[in-house]
């Protein structure tokens, strides 16, 4: 077996080749070690970083953008989106603030990626 996998971990987008040597995957074409881990995950349990937004109350913006602190399993993403849509946070919000703790049950948190100021009505 010889598979070409595009690494999506960064914009370089390395085209990584995986060849099976018995049970051992031989990986080449990755420009950094994250690519190796990505390919191994991709063969067994594909993972992605999820970025989306969460509603904010009393903020100078109606939404705060968020990201998972690390990649989470691809197959749980649509379920997690439902959970995230139900969530509302109160302003102010700081960058890096935890919006949902341990969102995937494996220690990955959902973090704010922008600041939202509180507006006083």
């Amino acid at each position: 077996m010889n598979r070409k996998i595009t690494c999506v971990m960064c914009p370089v987008g390395c085209r990584i080749t995986v060849e099976m040597n018995g049970d051992e995957p031989v990986i080449s074409g990755n420009r950094c070690t994250r690519g190796r881990q990505y390919v191994i995950d991709e063969l067994i349990k594909p993972k992605r970083v999820l970025t989306t937004s969460v509603k904010v109350e009393d903020g100078d913006l109606p939404l705060v953008s968020v990201k998972t602190s690390g990649p989470i399993e691809k197959k749980i993403i649509m379920d997690k989106m439902k959970e995230i849509k139900k969530k509302t946070v109160g302003a102010p919000v700081k960058i890096g603030e935890i919006i949902i703790e341990n969102i995937d049950g494996n220690g990955v948190d959902l973090l704010a990626t922008r600041k939202v100021k509180k507006i006083h009505k």
């Binding site: 960064c10 953008s65 989106m81």
Partner: protein, 415 residues
């Protein structure tokens, strides 16, 4: 009318390019004013909530808003004077006078050097000349991105995306995550317009089909969009009769590419015919002494890191110029050879190293960029037009350009 203001360096536009320029000029101890027409800085970064920004510039992977926030904080620390809600309507390039419209009225700023960093705008629907009705429900990808990511509004229920540029691909995934159905992405060219990684993580991950060599041939709907007709195209991009397919969608998203924002500002600045942006040197100087440009108004870059790096160079040279330090009379042309479309810079001077950015005009499996004058070749595999190729050369290597009177850049295809 307010009185005129004086400054060393004036930066127009507060996106990644303008913020980096303002910061580097401030680090050279110049007085810097940055003008931004919106109520905050950041430019397109504010609505690009996905990750993939900053790996070169900040050595970490950030989302767009995080990248913008970092630059903003640094600018504040370095005392850049940021004036938002200020639209530059005109620049008198000879006298370095900028006319500004703001909620407080119109006023003028005189600068010793100016950096223009106005970014790019989206190619509008009208430019595509698609026959049919003009109902609501047709949006450019950037506008849809703004709705969804900044204003908490969904454009519709079922969408078709025309154009496979990165914004279109990213929006396909975004709309699916928000609960819309995305029927397909159709692309007129025989290859995708966006990065391969975005085809993988935005389309393949969500089972959204991509139809290459296809285009929208009709839009149907009274009031709201109801149907879109898609046809296959031949090698001359003409629709092939009999290949029509109808999609029942209420939303059509157009990702037809970005065009450098070069209108309004001045008629005296030279443009590059192919890049459609300002023609600049490797010090980011335009054809007018002391006027610099950087970012997507020079050429559409695919990485914010490149934009920020160019902004940094522009800001530094603007600062040096404002102190009377630099003279760029000696400039040599950079000439496009075969298989090269986008090419930056247009000129070479000897005040700066050379950062060459180019796009190939078609996919090339095995190829080489050849800089004949310098006896330099760069090999690449699986090259696509959507991925810019960057080459960096130090001043010593550049010496031969002076001898030869210019630099010829071509790409050859190998078997």
């Amino acid at each position: 009318m307010m009185k005129g203001i004086n400054t060393d360096v004036l930066v127009i536009g507060g996106g990644a390019g303008g913020m980096a320029a303002a910061l580097s000029a401030a680090r050279e101890k110049s007085d810097v004013i940055l003008l931004e027409r919106e109520n905050s800085t950041g430019g397109v970064l504010n609505q690009c909530i996905h990750n993939g920004f900053g790996l070169h510039f900040y050595k970490e992977e950030l989302t767009g808003p995080e990248f913008a926030d970092k630059l903003f904080n640094e600018m504040t620390l370095d005392r850049v004077n940021i004036i938002s809600e200020s639209y530059v309507s005109e620049v008198d390039v000879e006298n370095k006078t900028v006319r500004v419209l703001s909620p407080d009225g119109a006023y003028e700023i005189y600068a010793k050097a100016i950096v223009i960093a106005t970014g790019a705008r989206e190619r509008p629907f009208g430019a595509l000349m698609i026959p049919g009705d003009r109902p609501s429900g047709i949006y450019t990808a950037g506008l849809a991105q703004r709705f969804v990511n900044l204003e908490n509004r969904l454009p519709g229920k079922r969408a078709l995306i025309l154009g496979s540029g990165d914004i279109g691909l990213i929006m396909a995934r975004r709309l699916v995550l928000e609960g819309m159905k995305v029927e397909a992405v159709v692309e007129r060219m025989p290859f995708p317009g966006g990065l391969l990684r975005n085809i993988v993580q935005c389309l393949e991950d969500y089972n959204i089909p991509l139809y290459l060599s296809h285009t929208v041939t009709k839009t149907v709907g009274r009031g709201r969009l109801e149907k879109v007709e898609v046809s296959e195209v031949d090698e001359n991009y003409n629709p092939i009769p009999g290949t029509e397919k109808i999609y029942d969608v209420d939303t059509l998203i157009l990702s037809a590419g970005l065009i450098p924002q070069v209108e309004d500002i001045s008629d005296s600045l030279q443009l590059d015919r192919v890049n459609k942006g300002y023609a600049v040197s490797n010090s980011c100087e335009t054809n007018i002494d002391g006027i610099y440009a950087a970012g997507n108004n020079v050429a559409v870059f695919d990485l914010v890191d490149y934009v920020a790096a160019e902004g940094w160079v522009a800001g530094r040279h603007a600062a040096l110029k404002s102190k009377g330090g630099e003279n760029n009379t000696e400039k040599y042309p950079v000439i496009r050879g075969k298989n090269v479309s986008i090419l930056v810079p247009s000129y070479i001077d000897f005040n700066e190293s050379l950062r060459l950015y180019l796009r190939i005009s078609k996919p090339i499996e095995h190829g080489r960029v050849i800089l004949k004058e310098l006896n330099i070749e760069k090999k690449f595999v699986d090259g696509v037009p959507s991925e810019m190729i960057q080459m960096v050369l130090n001043k010593k290597k550049m010496e031969l350009i002076r001898e030869k009177g210019g630099l010829f850049v071509e790409v050859v295809e190998d078997e």
